[in-house]
């Protein structure tokens, strides 16, 4: 676009002196150029004014935004937000901790129930087996199996109380020959004392002498015998709570099973008769 300092234009204006046809044409041409130039100037002016108006509008918007994102207000808002998030984080951490504690409790409870289930299974099977037969030999076998396999005993002796001699007589043993053990009077030693009082004996932890445990076998009416535990299996570190439950079970159930099996064997074929008449007499 030609500017106002157009050299050709200046020169043309300065050469206009009089009515010269050639000069007139040049003048018209120059005038038209000037007109065109003026129109262009006006259009440019209009465009620039529009541009200025747009920029002013943009400045206004920027200023308005500048007020909205005022530094102090923004920091305060962010601090508030951080504070709220901190509270939320604490709440979530607390909830997480609670859930974790609950989870730990559940795991602990599950483990206890699992252990309880296992113990009950042991007790149920021991009891079931003890009363599954009236053969004295088999009952003795079951007592031995319970002591060896369920409690985990390497050496023990099963004594039977002989009512004639009034002594505990060794009947069967595991881990040693039964002949190595002699009869025990009720006034003698830990074994005799436990049998006489019908109170279980368990060796103090750390002690090394004497039997590990003596379990009297007795019914409400009478003493039947005793189990003397002398050594546990190598892999067994000590007695556990279920072992004491098994001691309780053996104390009564092994006693009744042994006594009834022995009496049945003594009675011979007569004991194989089941008479409803006799049964009715017995219950009155």
């Amino acid at each position: 676009m030609p500017g106002p300092t157009d050299v050709e234009g200046d020169r043309a204006m300065s050469t206009k002196k009089g009515p010269d046809p050639v000069g007139h044409e040049e003048f018209v041409s120059l005038f038209e150029k000037g007109l065109s130039f003026t129109k262009e100037i006006l259009a440019e002016n209009e465009r620039l004014r529009f541009r200025v108006a747009s920029l002013e509008a943009e400045v206004d918007v920027t200023r308005r935004h500048g007020r909205d994102v005022d530094g102090d207000a923004m920091v305060a808002a962010l601090r508030r937000q951080v504070s709220e998030l901190e509270v939320e984080r604490s709440r979530l951490l607390s909830s997480f901790q609670e859930v974790e504690n609950l989870n730990r409790d559940y795991m602990q409870r599950y483990s206890e129930i699992e252990s309880e289930h296992n113990n009950l299974a042991n007790l149920y099977i021991a009891s079931y087996q003890l009363h599954s037969t009236l053969s004295f030999r088999e009952v003795v076998q079951v007592v031995s199996e319970i002591v060896i396999n369920l409690i985990g005993v390497a050496n023990f002796t099963l004594y039977l109380f002989d009512t004639t001699s009034e002594q505990l007589e060794p009947l069967v043993a595991e881990g040693h020959d039964v002949g190595e053990r002699s009869a025990v009077g009720l006034e003698e030693s830990i074994i005799g004392h436990a049998a006489r009082t019908k109170e279980r004996y368990v060796r103090e932890p750390g002690a090394t002498k004497g039997p590990i445990a003596v379990i009297p076998l007795a019914t409400v009416e009478s003493l039947v015998g005793a189990i003397v535990i002398e050594r546990l299996l190598v892999q067994k570190e000590g007695l556990s709570p279920v072992d004491f439950e098994l001691f309780n079970l053996l104390g009564v159930h092994a006693a009744t099973a042994l006594a009834s099996a022995l009496m049945r064997e003594e009675a011979g074929n007569d004991a194989r008769v089941i008479s409803i008449t006799r049964a009715r007499e017995l219950i009155g």
Partner: protein, 126 residues
């Protein structure tokens, strides 16, 4: 793997056998067959397929170690997982059983979860 898996429990003590069977009853899809000793076990192994064999060591007729040895020599059963459950807790007993081909060795008195876990592991049950 088949829907139903079969375990053979070899144990001369009825009390112990019942305890193992009771524990294994908690493994879904597992059916248990019982044998009194090694001879009875070999007979049952010849009659049907088993996915796992669980055996005691000290038994009359044929003990558990002899049974393991014979099973491993048999082409039909040489891959069957074998678990020993025994009172013998000495390290040399364990080594001997494992060297004969047992896959796992559990000492008595047993804990049901321990047996269940080992059976599941060997049968690749989740």
């Amino acid at each position: 793997m088949a829907d139903t898996l079969y375990a053979l429990v070899v144990e001369d003590s009825p009390t112990m056998r019942q305890l193992i069977v009771f524990a294994l009853s908690r493994v879904k899809a597992l059916k248990v067959v019982e044998a009194d000793d090694g001879v009875d076990a070999l007979k049952k192994l010849s009659q049907q397929h088993f996915d796992v064999l669980i055996t005691d060591i000290n038994m009359p007729m044929m003990d558990g170690l002899k049974l393991v040895s014979m099973v491993r020599k048999d082409e039909a059963h040489k891959e069957i997982p074998i678990i020993i459950i025994t009172t013998e807790g000495a390290q040399e007993d364990r080594q001997r059983a494992l060297s004969l081909g047992a896959n796992a060795y559990i000492t008595k008195p047993i804990q049901a979860p321990q047996v269940i876990s080992k059976v599941k592991e060997l049968l690749k049950l989740t």
